[in-house]
Assembly symmetry: C2
Homo-oligomer: 155 residues x 2
C-alpha cells in the first residue's frame, strides 16, 4: 500500500516535520535555562502559562490541558503555592473546586519566562507579514484542532 505521493512531496513533508522539531527546541531552550536557575522545571512554566492565560481554572481542567496525572501535577503546584506564585480560591458555587490564579509575583515570573518565546513568535510571525501569519495559524490550527478539543480548549 504505497501512497500516491511523490518522493519529492514526501521529502517536503519530512522537511516540515523536521522544521517543527527544531523550532520547538528553539522555543523551549531559553525558558528552560531560566527555570533551571530557579530550581523549577518545565511543568512549572506550563502551569504558570496556562493559568495566566485562563485564570480561575480548576485543577481538573488544568490536568486536562497539561495531559498529566494529578499526582504529577500536585507537587509542582504545591511548590508554586509555597513560593507564593499561585493562589487558590474556592469556587463560589462548588467549594470543592480550587480555582487557580497567579499572584503578582506569579504573573511577573510568567512574563519573564514566556517573554523569550513571545519574542521569537513576534519576530518570526511579524517578520513574515500579516498574510503569512494568518496562513501559519490556519495550518497549525488544522493540525492542533482535534487535540485541543480533547483538552477542552475552546476555540
Amino acid at each position: 500500500m504505497p501512497s500516491q505521493r511523490s518522493a519529492q512531496r514526501e521529502r517536503e513533508l519530512d522537511d516540515a516535520w523536521e522544521l517543527m522539531h527544531f523550532a520547538l527546541r528553539a522555543v523551549i531552550a531559553r525558558p528552560d535555562q531560566m527555570l533551571e536557575k530557579r530550581g523549577l522545571s518545565r511543568v512549572h512554566h506550563r502551569i504558570l502559562f496556562f493559568v495566566a492565560r485562563q485564570p480561575d481554572l480548576s485543577v481538573n481542567q488544568l490536568l486536562q490541558v497539561l495531559g498529566v496525572s494529578k499526582q504529577a501535577l500536585n507537587e509542582p503546584l504545591r511548590e508554586l503555592y509555597a513560593q507564593d506564585l499561585v493562589a487558590f480560591t474556592p469556587a463560589p458555587q462548588d467549594r470543592r473546586q480550587r480555582r487557580l490564579v497567579l499572584t503578582a509575583a506569579g504573573r511577573e515570573l510568567e512574563r519573564r519566562l514566556t517573554e523569550p518565546q513571545r519574542r521569537m513568535f513576534d519576530s518570526a510571525l511579524g517578520g513574515a507579514g500579516i498574510r503569512a501569519e494568518t496562513a501559519w495559524r490556519r495550518v497549525m490550527q488544522s493540525m492542533a484542532a482535534e487535540e485541543m478539543a480533547r483538552s477542552g480548549r475552546a476555540r
Copy 2:
C-alpha cells in the same frame, strides 16, 4: 522593562505558542501508540527518521542532531541493530566512524511510523494552499534556523 507590545498582540503570540504545543502533541500521538506495541520508544523513531533522511550519518552527527548523550543513544541503537532495522558500515576514509543506514526492514518500519505524520502535514499544508504552505515554512524556518545550525543541519 515592559515591552512595546499591545496586550492584544501578547495574546495572539501566546495563542500561537499554544497552537504549536497542541499541534506537536497531535503529530506525536499516533506513532507513539505504534511504537509502544513494538516495545520501542520515541528515540527509536527519531533515529529511524533521521537516518532514513540522511543515510551514512555517523554516530557523532546523529548525536548532534538528536541532542542527547552518547550513552542515551547507545542502547536504542543497539536494539535497532539487534532487530536488524539499522546496519553499520565503516566509513571508507576513516574506519573508526560507523556510518548508519537503514535495512529494508528499517525503511519499511520508518515509513509506517512516519506515515501518520506525513498525512497530517500533507492535509494541513496542502489544504491551506501553496502560498500558505510556503508562508508556513518561512515562519518555521525563521524560528528553527539557529537551532538547526547548531545541530549541523545544512539548509
